[in-house]
């Protein structure tokens, strides 16, 4: 068995892993060890279960079959599987977006709704983006029109998903020319399922093009709707201080952990936790107060809007319960382990499921309805308070939570960089053009017990920072970086290169910008579009000196994100390859041929430092193509492009 330090780079996690092992509690890492060695056919993508002539497998080594019963080759089978992963990922993000659109519609239609339109400025800017007339209309009338239009995007049958118009012209031209401009969100997912049915699409590139179309419908559709409308309902985030790690669980308070993804639930729990009656009840039960903490993207949503501390990321969900101090773990959808109920039974913790779409073994189901949102949220918080006296053994968490600043958006970066009265991206573009910043990178994605927890996120980010690459983070990567202290403004002085330090000092930002949850990767798309629109860095996202990475990815959502980012022109490095390595032609397409079409492509590298160097080499290549000067200051990693170049001081400008 791997030692606990080989399982996680986070000291708090290591400590809790030791405790759990002592108590004989089985966690994701133990279950992974039980699964090893994992099926080679599955890893290579060579297994097809799409019809009952199968299951079929392609033999990668022996004299076994090279085709399935229908005649499908390794490339066809692997492409079908990969496209279905995109379908599931796009469906998950988009269903989240659909729920938010529904909530906004409710808020617009019902006067006494628990949800209100909290951000009129954002609402009006979206209305302008969508071409909705706002003059003479009330806020609720505008909200209704926006909600209806967004709602309609899911079932739209023809035309173009409306938010794609926020992309640079070059991206839209490429999408139209290759036939992947998404029509409607649901339609593209359905078409993947059709095409991957027995005997339909049997060309691996054509299958992947539909995968890309669905992924774009996610990034520039479902996910973007989720982000934009959440901002309208719950207020667009602004810079906010907070802290992160399981140490935020306070043994003297009623602890409610919210875990999952959709802010419509967590926002109401936040409101309920401030209810005077419930606070009084908590005191009555002997608690100091009510303490909220988030896990996974729910954590990011309430962190960036309310400064609610982050308890942890994906692989810490079980560990939170093992502290014995969590009175209720409240979950909705996505990335919630079905093991939680069993673990909660060993403690006093109430494990509460809330979504009609997601039920779990050994969970108490308290179904959440938007129409009675606050009432149900209060009932959930009350359940936690009443459970407080039932605590058994409490294992105190090491209190090493790190301070952080979160809550950056594509809009508030304008104001951060340019000030309130001349909001602009100019300083960012100028810094890149001058070489003070080498480039910008997005580090996103999940945790995966196949890799050391948090190690990839944190080490990759550090390597990028010291080479003057500004880093944007979302999702569980954001939480990993927060726990490592990289989201604190002071981190610039410890970890950033000279150029990036100058930027951070001048503007007052941390070197790592927290852009939100995993649907908020759509914010990264808008940041990139804004950089192109600002001018000086080419006419396309594909021209920008930027790169993306998901060092510890595991979910189907990450596959969808990967494809919409690559198809939007960004070179992207994944910590683990897609499960298609048994398909040579498909591998050539996603790591090569796809670049000719969209300007972005994939690379796979599990070592975070080597992966960071691949990203920097790409950034440098784009700098060179734009005829930008080499980085202003000497760089620890000179990279392939500038390896031969003389130092900056001697370059004639």
């Amino acid at each position: 068995m791997a030692s606990h330090k080989e399982r996680s780079a986070d000291p708090v996690t290591v400590r809790l892993l030791e405790n759990a092992a002592e108590a004989g509690i089985e966690l994701a890492w133990d279950r992974y060890a039980m699964q090893e060695p994992q099926c080679g056919f599955g890893q290579l993508g060579l297994c097809c279960r799409n019809c009952l002539m199968g299951p079929c497998r392609i033999d990668p080594f022996g004299d076994g079959p090279k085709e399935g019963v229908c005649g499908a080759t390794a490339d066809i089978i692997a492409a079908r599987n990969l496209a279905r992963m995109i379908a599931a990922g796009a469906a998950a993000h988009s269903d989240h977006g659909r729920d938010i659109a529904h909530t906004l519609l409710m808020a617009a239609e019902q006067e006494n709704c628990d949800y209100q339109i909290r951000d009129e400025r954002k609402l009006k800017s979206i209305a302008a983006d969508l071409g909705i007339q706002t003059e003479g209309k009330s806020t609720r009338e505008i909200a209704r029109a926006v909600a209806e239009l967004c709602f309609a995007q899911f079932g739209q049958q023809h035309g173009e998903v409306v938010f794609t118009r926020k992309a640079p012209e070059d991206q839209r031209r490429r999408w139209r020319e290759t036939g992947v401009m998404p029509r409607g969100v649901d339609r593209e997912v359905v078409e993947i399922m059709h095409r991957t049915h027995i005997g339909v699409d049997n060309d691996h590139v054509n299958i992947m093009l539909q995968g890309i179309r669905a992924a774009l419908a996610d990034g520039w559709g479902g996910s973007m709707i989720a982000t934009e409308l959440s901002d309208v309902l719950f207020r667009a985030p602004t810079w906010i201080r907070s802290e992160a790690n399981l140490g935020i669980i306070d043994p003297e308070c009623v602890n409610v952990i919210v875990h999952g993804h959709e802010p419509s639930l967590s926002e109401m729990i936040v409101a309920a936790a401030q209810d005077r009656g419930l606070l009084a009840l908590a005191k009555e039960k002997g608690a100091k107060g009510i303490n909220l903490g988030g896990i996974c993207c729910t954590a990011n949503e309430i962190l960036m809007r309310h400064g609610i501390p982050v308890a942890g990321n994906f692989l810490q969900q079980e560990l939170a319960i093992t502290t014995g101090a969590v009175d209720a773990m409240v979950v909705d959808v996505q990335c919630v382990f079905p093991s939680l109920g069993k673990i909660a039974q060993r403690f006093h913790t109430k494990f509460i499921s809330t979504s009609p779409k997601a039920k779990f073994p050994f969970a108490e189901h308290m179904e959440f309805e938007e129409a009675r949102a606050l009432e149900i949220a209060k009932r959930i918080v009350r359940t936690a308070i009443e459970n407080y006296p039932n605590r058994k053994k409490v294992t105190c968490c090491p209190s090493v939570e790190k301070p952080l600043v979160a809550g950056f958006t594509s809009e508030n970066i304008y104001r951060m960089l340019g000030g309130t009265y001349r909001a602009t991206y100019r300083p960012l573009n100028d810094a890149v053009m001058a070489g003070r910043l080498r480039g910008v990178a997005g580090v996103v994605g999940c945790n995966n017990p196949k890799l050391v927890h948090d190690y990839g996120h944190v080490e990759m980010t550090k390597e990028l920072l010291k080479n003057d690459v500004l880093v944007a983070v979302t999702g569980c990567s954001a939480v990993a970086n927060a726990k490592a202290g990289l989201l604190a403004p002071e981190a610039a002085f410890e970890f950033a290169g000279e150029g990036l330090q100058e930027i951070c000092r001048a503007v007052g930002i941390p070197p790592v910008l927290h852009l939100g949850s995993c649907v908020d990767n759509s914010r990264i798309l808008i940041v990139l579009s804004n950089m192109v629109a600002e001018g000086g860095l080419g006419n396309s996202i594909a021209d920008l000196p930027v790169a993306g990475a998901a060092p510890e990815w595991m979910s189907e959502k990450a596959v969808s994100i990967g494809f919409y980012v690559v198809a939007s022109g960004v070179f992207t490095v994944l910590g683990q390859p897609f499960p298609v390595q048994g398909a040579p032609e498909l591998m050539k397409f996603i790591c090569g041929g796809i670049e000719k079409l969209y300007g972005g492509k994939f690379a796979f590298e599990s070592d975070p430092i080597r992966a960071a160097h691949l990203m920097i080499d790409h950034i440098d290549a784009r700098r060179a193509a734009l005829k930008l000067p080499p980085p202003m200051y000497p760089q620890p990693y000179r990279g392939k492009v500038y390896a031969e170049a003389p130092a900056r001081a001697t370059v004639a400008v």
Binding site: F41, F61, G62, P577
Partner: protein, 171 residues
């Protein structure tokens, strides 16, 4: 201690072919799945899951005591170092006559990937030297393959058979 064998419980085999993949990877240079795929020529498995009347049966070299392949080999390429040792193949001595392939009663010896020499199970001696079970055994998700000594294997069988007898009596 008696000799350890790869014991097969055919009733547990789900025909997943994981043993075959693990075998090819274990005999590759890189020892990783992706690395093995990239090698040329690609390594091939020394264990084969055959199908008889709808039932999968994993078959590999039994490392017979009186091994016909050893007796048939004219050049000493197939040999064993001692009575407790596995039957091994030495490509440097092989003259390519295929006598061992014909002599093996299990069909467990096959022609090598480049057409030269033969492939046979070496009981993963490289892994055993590191204290790790043969690759096919560790890859088997249902424990249809076990690496155990003969006494252990037969005792297990006797116990199962006894339990079956008893439950039959009480019915």
């Amino acid at each position: 201690m008696s000799r350890k064998i790869i014991a097969v419980d055919v009733t547990r085999c789900m025909a997943c072919h994981s043993c075959e993949i693990a075998c090819a990877v274990a005999h590759s240079a890189s020892k990783t799945l992706a690395g093995a795929l990239a090698e040329s020529p690609r390594q091939r498995p020394r264990v084969h899951v055959e199908h008889v009347a709808g039932h999968p049966v994993p078959i590999q070299c039994q490392h017979c005591d009186d091994a016909p392949c050893v007796a048939a080999c004219p050049s000493g390429a197939v040999s064993r170092a001692g009575p407790e040792e596995p039957v091994l193949f030495d490509s440097a001595r092989c003259i390519g006559c295929r006598m061992c392939v014909q002599a093996c009663p299990f069909g467990a010896i096959t022609i090598g990937p480049d057409g030269k020499g033969v492939l046979k199970c070496d009981l993963c001696i490289e892994r055993l030297s590191r204290g790790v079970e043969p690759a096919c055994v560790s890859a088997c998700p249902t424990r249809a393959l076990r690496f155990e000594d003969v006494d252990q294997a037969t005792r297990r069988k006797r116990r199962t058979a006894s339990a079956n007898l008893l439950s039959g009596e009480t019915k």
